[in-house]
Symmetry: D2
């Protein structure tokens, strides 16, 4: 994509945001149904989910605010939406369906935010943005799946709501690798920083060490 | 992308929405600054803009609700946002800058909605969704630029707000063709129908004829 | 308040909206905790709740869209908000607390929308507006408690989202009668129509009869 | 209203929020049309507007973020909404109408936020909340008119978005004094702190002195 990147560079897109002062970790839809190639998963989703285990551990040790999302639709179809017409299998993700539950290896601890949503963005039709605002979060590390769907929508909305989104590339996965790469390209040019897990852990840890001096 | 498409097909993505009963036309950011390859344009943006002239004419004859968007930031930086850090040239698009004005060939007529926005989606931080809701719109034809930016964000948000988005592929343009195609793929699989200009005009015209019988 | 009303009349406030073509019934927070004067109830809340039984029955017979709200906060405080500082007892309204459950006499039927919320408005931080928009609702009958709190906030937001709000005065209750009356005054002047239960049932029934002719 | 207040006290409403760490001043709709008893003003609106001059001066000296709102509807009716049915005179408040312009004595300085809105809340259909979030505002001083309309709606929405709203009672005015008092009562019990202008200036000044030591 070097020629696409050149066009964006010529128009001065892709400038860095940097980490702000108060960082939250957002884990989008790492639920059983997306960790399963027969339901909504496949591609590099499971690998990204595995990579997120270490990031979650590091963020807990750093006492960051942590938010998880689940896709949950009503059992009786009362909140079916346009997206459920495009993707009818979403209707299987009801409150008690195993597919809608967060994977065991990323199980939320008490006090971590759990957002139920029915649309791509973690922020649309939820009170996550106000919750982050009240906590004075200014930076959101975005992980989860899929890169071309709920991760992108959540990262774009994080930006819209006034937070700096930092997408952690190896903690985001997609059922198909073409869209994974294409969406990381768009995000980096227009909306977010892109960092790897190890880069962001190193920077957060270095900052904490500096603050403790 | 046939293999990516196969994965989506296997998971039963990409089902059609169809046109509803009351259709609006949304023209996203066809302003001078995006019709200029030295500012924000290039690629197939100008071609898409030209294609939209005929669609706008047809929609006016069909008496559809029509909405245009402009990107407008304050002269004094008081409403600069995170996106203006990523893409500083957006700050040039002030109220009176020629670059922020809708191209002459798509000039709005009195009574057509004009939305000023500072973020990708035509719906975020604006009252376009309530305006459409009040008019009982159920379907939004999405055109404009760029496909990988404000068109996609507006189409996704249209869906989130409860409207059926129909992206008109040859009336959407992007400065880079890779992202244009990649985003049409995502939109078709997850969020919107994709039609060409001539297909949608034919269907709308046929319906009107049928209704008049 | 005749002199206050005169001021509004002089400035041409208080014009009627009328019922639109597709009506939904919204029942705000008629849960056990608000039906109990020792928790959040008192005043005319229980009376309003009782009056709503007949309205709900009529709306079901007319096949209207019906939505109920509950206040539900997380057990672990992860979604506590500013309002929970002002009114700490709200934190008792967790998912399984009897106080957060809809009163038995207004128990939702399968297919009726149930909105969990943590803020006054039924629309803020929820996807109720998109759900209504998708169903092409244009008019919302607003009932529930309290008139000076969640009813008012929901009625104002219904208007903001592009729906015509009709507040059903004898199906809204408040722990204190001064605020009940004061808020009906504001709503009538600026935001909504006010009808009694019997008036709205009569009008809806007459319309249905007319449509059936 | 002592008996109403007793009911609220019994249910443990009305707890204080306190000022947070980063305060913004929000001035709602102090425009010429509301400073004129023949248009939308009267009552104590002009007095509240005059009182706000000193508060604005103090907040500027303290380098607080300052936001002003105007009501602005399109000249051609394209964005008329439900509220414009209730209150048709709002349609006179077009971009260039003198009535929609901020009063001379509170004229915004460059860099102060100016929000155009068409609905009661300064936050609904605008990007004010993201702007405040990006600046890490946690407390919003709410002034303007009318107390029973746009001030209340803005204060409630400030709370919903995760900011602590502090309504400055003598810098809020209403065309009718009954609703002014009734709404301050509701706000104090459920949503905001209430302070006078001199109280808030004294506290902000004392904090600054303390921080400078």
């Amino acid at each position: 994509m070097s020629s696409d990147a050149d066009i964006y560079k010529h128009q001065n897109f892709g400038n860095p945001l940097g980490l702000g002062d108060k960082v939250a970790l957002l884990i989008v839809d790492f639920v059983n149904g997306f960790d399963d190639a027969d339901q909504f998963g496949g591609g590099n989703v499971t690998e990204a989910c595995n990579n997120t285990v270490g990031l979650l551990k590091a963020c807990r040790e750093l006492n960051l605010t942590i938010a998880h999302t689940r896709v949950v639709l009503a059992d009786d179809g009362s909140d079916d939406n346009i997206m459920a017409i495009k993707v009818p299998a979403l209707k299987n993700l009801t409150e008690n369906a195993p597919g809608s539950h967060i994977v065991e290896r990323l199980k939320p601890l008490p006090g971590e935010i759990i957002v139920r949503k029915r649309l791509p963005s973690a922020f649309f039709g939820t009170d996550l943005a106000p919750n982050f605002t009240m906590r004075r979060i200014d930076t959101v590390l975005v992980t989860g799946c899929t890169t071309s769907g709920c991760v992108r929508a959540s990262a774009v909305d994080a930006m819209c709501h006034g937070f700096r989104p930092i997408v952690i590339s190896d903690c985001c996965g997609d059922r198909a690798l073409g869209p994974h790469e294409a969406n990381l390209f768009d995000l980096r040019q227009k909306y977010t920083d892109i960092m790897t897990r190890d880069e962001v852990i190193a920077e957060l840890t270095a900052r904490q060490a500096q603050a403790a001096e």
